[in-house]
């Protein structure tokens, strides 16, 4: 069953058309790698799935509701189901690692403090940084920070996880630990949309590929078909550069 449907999603910044009437479907359990050259609208697409950015026209149907038409309060609720991980981690520097994960549990979900602490620690353990609960993000390595950010999103128990180039800001030696965390998540059956330039990850972990170029999106239901036989010049050029 489709958990998310994108219908004629169109985005213009002034005269600049960034997304050209995109249509796509996400099934529960899908791991979708969104690939494409930079500046082609990958981030924009991702950010329009939880209304951090509003589309110019079109619909995003999440669990049978068009969330482009949801109220502000409704969106606050919907966003809890759509976890997001950013290229630049965006941890809250004024809070400890534990509080970074906890605060949305207590303030947004209204969960009691000790329960929230337990949940937060559980997810920090899962991503392998539970020994850092009391330090501030600035004293963590990039890889550790990104794993805390993943724990922070996961703790909200989302139905879909959106990743926007989660490893692009990392030193090469740290890319692996974050990809490992994401790989485990995929194996657990989490529905994931991952904007990435990690071709290995896309090939091995993704169940589908969305290839974006100049605001157009082509969906491949099988990663192999994309990598072996992209049958579009733009995809071929992209792959030639990346591999």
């Amino acid at each position: 069953m489709a958990i998310l449907e994108i219908k004629n999603l169109h985005k213009e910044y002034g005269k600049n058309t960034v997304l050209k009437s995109i249509n796509a479907t996400v099934e529960e359990g899908d791991v979708i790698a969104i690939l494409g050259p930079s500046g082609t609208g990958k981030s924009t697409l991702l950010r329009e799935l939880n209304m951090l950015e509003y589309p110019t026209s079109g619909a995003v149907i999440f669990e049978d509701q068009d969330i482009t038409k949801a109220s502000e309060a409704g969106l606050d609720k919907i966003r809890q189901d759509l976890g997001m991980v950013f290229q630049s981690f965006n941890l809250f520097p004024n809070m400890t690692v534990l509080d970074n994960v906890k605060i949305a549990l207590t303030k947004v979900k209204g969960i009691a403090d000790d329960e929230a602490t337990a949940t937060a620690k559980q997810f920090l353990e899962k991503v392998g940084v539970v020994d850092k609960v009391d330090v501030y993000p600035a004293s963590l390595s990039g890889g550790q920070q990104q794993r805390v950010a993943i724990a922070r999103a996961l703790a909200m128990n989302p139905k879909i996880m959106l990743f926007d180039e989660p490893t692009s800001a990392l030193d090469p030696e740290m890319v692996g630990e974050v990809l490992k965390t994401m790989r485990e998540l995929a194996q657990e059956g989490m529905t994931m949309l991952v904007v990435t330039h990690e071709m290995g990850f896309a090939r091995e972990v993704a169940s589908k590929i969305w290839f974006m170029s100049d605001g157009d999106m082509t969906a491949y239901d099988n990663p192999v078909s994309f990598f072996e036989n992209p049958n579009s010049e733009r995809a071929q050029n992209f792959l030639a550069k990346m591999l």
């Binding site: 966003r79 997001m84 950013f86 809250f92 004024n94 947004v108 979900k109 993000p137 922070r152 909200m156």
Partner: protein, 493 residues
């Protein structure tokens, strides 16, 4: 025995009560239109005579220190107190600049003005004058070494003269010289200018000149006889104060004019020439000035922050009108010198019928000004928090206001606080500007001391040191505070 005394006292009291109320009734019956007027009524009702004066006109009225306390004295003040005494009320002195006096008496801010003021036809249209209680002629005060240069009216035509702005002497000065007249607010400033040879002479009342002669031997009075009638000093009151006017005239005749006034003048001149060390005589001015300066800065920044937060929020809001209003205000305030803003508030409030003290006007101008800068500090402090913080918070389901509260503001505060500290230091320094409207802060007091002590330089140095201690001290304190803030926040360490 005891019981009897008690009863007796009660009886006396009861009798007294009946008598006094009876007398009161009697009084009520005999009251008619000619026995009172609104001003007199107000004086009687409040039990005090509020006297407006401009205490920079020795020996008429001037500041002195007594037991380390600042006090307004002078023969005008003594005369005013005598009038109060004869009216059977307390006397309260209220100081303001000379050109604000007429407005004050017209609006009822003060009951009378006793400030060596001379009746002129223009003034007489606005207010009532008593008979002159003292007639003084005007002279030109010069430096002794230039005495020969300015001894005739013909020579004086080439002299650069100073006089108190909008005073009778000012008019005379304009008449007797061909050069441009320097009109200053304070006699002390004029004398300082004379001292520094920035002007050749000062047109003053001869009484004033005399006291300067006694105080220092560097001055001389030009023998030239100035044209025009000599100026008599009258008590000034509201147009409606007709009964008060005749009462005051009678008090002047019976209790002031002649011998009593002579004694008051002698006392005043003696007070004026009282020898005292510079420190004990003038330190109260610096202390008072410093307190005013700090007070102004505290008020300025405190209300500036409140208003500044409002403007910052308006500027950051998504409502176009708010955005536009806030931007317009901020740009306007930042684009106009503080001096002009001070004048606009001071005269603007007057023009719309709000009679506020110069301190209040100064404080308002300061915080209206500061608000614009604080708004920018807050806005940029908030905007300096990366967008990613908002996105992360919103993606977790935080509402807009929760995001502001838990993520943006705690981080913005760290950018804002140090900048606000700097703003406080700036406001302390810029507060000097409000001295122009007679707010008794440090810079104002400095010029008072400069004039009164005939020392133009030392007071400046003292003031500079005080400003430096204030600003440097506050900067150090803020640094310590900032360090502490940093320590508790390992993200910056």
């Amino acid at each position: 025995m005891n019981k009897w005394i008690k009863k007796l006292i009660m009886l006396v009291m009861a009798f007294g009560l009946v008598m006094s109320s009876g007398m009161g009734m009697l009084n009520m019956h005999t009251v008619n239109a000619e026995e009172t007027d609104p001003t007199l009524e107000r004086i009687k009702k409040s039990g005090k005579l509020v006297v407006g004066t401009s205490a920079d006109y020795a020996p008429y009225e001037f500041h002195t220190t007594e037991h380390g306390k600042d006090k307004i004295v002078g023969f005008d003040i003594e005369a005013a107190r005598e009038i109060g005494k004869q009216l059977g009320v307390k006397t309260e002195i209220q100081e303001m600049s000379f050109d604000a006096l007429l407005g004050a008496v017209k609006t009822g801010k003060v009951d009378v003005v006793v400030a060596g003021m001379t009746e002129t036809p223009e003034r007489a249209e606005e207010v009532n004058f008593s008979k002159p209680y003292f007639v003084d002629k005007n002279v030109v005060l010069t430096l002794k070494q230039n005495k020969e240069k300015w001894s005739t009216l013909k020579q004086i035509r080439q002299a650069k003269l100073a006089a108190q702005v909008s005073s009778k002497q000012d008019d005379i000065a304009h008449d007797i010289t061909d050069k441009k007249v320097v009109s200053l607010k304070k006699i002390t400033d004029e004398v300082t200018q004379l001292n520094q040879e920035k002007v050749d002479g000062v047109v003053v009342a001869s009484t004033t000149a005399k006291s300067y002669l006694e105080q220092s031997d560097q001055f001389a009075v030009s023998p030239a006889k100035l044209p025009g009638i000599s100026n008599g000093s009258s008590v000034v009151m509201n147009k409606n104060a007709t009964v008060l006017q005749s009462k005051v005239n009678k008090i002047l005749d019976d209790h002031i004019i002649g011998e009593p006034l002579q004694k008051m003048q002698d006392d005043a001149i003696e007070l004026m020439n009282k020898k005292e060390s510079f420190v004990s005589k003038y330190s109260p001015y610096f202390v008072k000035g410093t307190l005013y300066t700090i007070g102004l800065a505290v008020i300025g920044v405190f209300f500036g922050i409140i208003l500044g937060i409002l403007f910052a929020l308006m500027k950051l809001s998504s409502i176009k009108v708010f955005k536009w209003l806030a931007s317009a205000y901020i740009e306007a305030v930042r684009g106009v010198p503080l001096l002009i803003q001070v004048f606009i508030v001071y005269f603007g409030t007057q023009a719309i019928g709000l009679h506020i003290s110069s301190f209040l006007a100064g404080a308002i101008a300061m915080f209206l000004n500061s608000a614009a800068y604080v708004a920018e500090i807050i806005r940029s402090g908030i905007q300096a928090v990366p967008d990613g913080q908002t996105e992360a918070a919103r993606s977790l389901g935080f509402t807009k206001s929760q995001t502001m509260r838990y993520m943006i503001l705690p981080q913005a505060i760290k950018n804002i606080l140090p900048a606000l500290g700097n703003e406080f230091v700036t406001v302390i320094k810029e507060g000097s500007v409000v001295s122009v409207i007679g707010v008794g802060e440090l810079t104002f007091q400095t010029s008072v001391v400069q004039g009164a002590s005939f020392k133009p330089f030392i007071p400046l140095i003292i003031t500079a040191v005080i400003y430096f201690i204030l600003t440097f001290g506050i900067s150090r304190l803020l640094n310590l505070f900032e360090k502490k803030l940093r320590k508790s926040d390992k993200t910056l360490g």
